[in-house]
Amino acid sequence: MNFLGRIGRVFLGFCTGTGRLTLFTFNGVSHCFRPPIYFKLIGKQFLDIGYYSLPVVGLTAIFIGMVLALQLHTGFSRLTGGESAIAQVVVLGMTRELGPVIAALMVAGRIGASIAAEIGTMRVTDQIDALSTLSTNPYKYLVAPRLLAAVVALPCLVLIADIIGVFGGFLMASYKFGFNPSAYLQNTADFLQTDDVVSGLIKSAVFGFIIALMGCYHGYNSRGGAQGVGAATTHAVVSASVMILMFDYILSALLFSS
């Protein structure tokens, strides 16, 4: 019986967790559209999430683009004429898949953690209660600006990551493998379709939402001092990363189903 009880408890815990998260999401999103809207805070968050993540995202993107070209070059050399497909595969891989996912995972580590730690510390030091006593809704002041900023910032970051990634592949192809640079770029441009980029941007907006939501949710519900904040940070990063990969599959299946 004890075993069944344990299963039941886990199941109930799962249900309350899901319910809480749903309520939290609803509250957070609804405050994104109801005045007053704190434009200054949104701007500050956008700077933090978008601008200051550029170096990290840019560095990862260029290495991913380079290693992709390298792997394709060595791998495709087994096929006759396979090498000519490098430009196409790099641009397709970067825009559709690697750009959004890699950028989102990097931002989840950087921003998801910092959101959870900041809001978590505010929770355990009563600052969130203090907001309420000063007639300010914490959802509106803390959650909504982060959600909005992340949903806008991620696609911007991914667009830049796409370009840098493709450039990384181009560098390898033209300087290491001796491809004709202009032919490589021509191949890339001819092959690329708007849909490839747009689908990546749609995904990244969803990823941005997930990152900010997980950071805010775990931070907001943290308790128990420094240890609680540490746990909230871990949960925020891990759950965001897992959900990013999950939603990556779901969105890919939906966007390219036809």
Binding site: E118, M122, T125, D126, Q127, D129, A130, L131, S132, T133, L134, S135, T136, N137, Y141
Partner: protein, 258 residues
Amino acid sequence: MSGAPKIAVRGLKKAFGDNVVLDGLDLDVGVGESVVVIGGSGTGKSVLVKCIMGLMEPDSGSVKIDGKEVTGLSRGEREKAMQKFGMLFQGSALFDSLRVWQNVAFGLIQGHGMGQAEAKEVALKTMGAVGLDPEVGELWPAELSGGMQKRVGLARAIASKPEIIIFDEPTTGLDPIMGDVINNLIVECVRKLGATAVSITHDMASAHKIADRIAMIYKGKIIWQGAAKSIDQSGNPYVDQFIHGRAEGPIQMEIRAL
């Protein structure tokens, strides 16, 4: 006490799991009166004020402010009810991402829609009233000592001239002299504003100084209340034990078995 009470608490109950914290608590606070609630750690003092302020929803019972029920309000209505309140938190709960003057002006700008310049002026004037120089306004909360932080917290609580001020352990963690300074400031501020005050503390010196009336909470109920001067002759063994700080007596520290 004359006329209708400012705050009327009836049959307030709150439990966390099996742990019953408030067990049908009744308390009235008159207009302009200063009531201090004393009691040991973990007897539900903090939960009581959180329920009064609406930061926590009680399991059952009623809290009326100016004769109007405030339990079970929607978030919007609660925010309106909050405007009557100011609170000094135990750890001050200053927003560490904002400068000192922005902390003090926060309620004015966010809650009352005052302009920046005007709010800063009021904030600096309020800071003057609690003995803080205008230069302190440009510092960050982390740069201040505990006593200074308490002063800023007090200034923030009274800046928007609330009708009811809640003090959560105002002297805990301060040296006796700074504690007395804070007590004097509290008495002065509450008098000047004509506000109703509810304080919770286990510091008897502080209770004597700021209370018109003292109420003692034990096992989730008010077991004694009376004028502050009469507490030494309460004739209640629980109160006697508490104010003299004796380990022997009817109150047994419950040490929970693990």
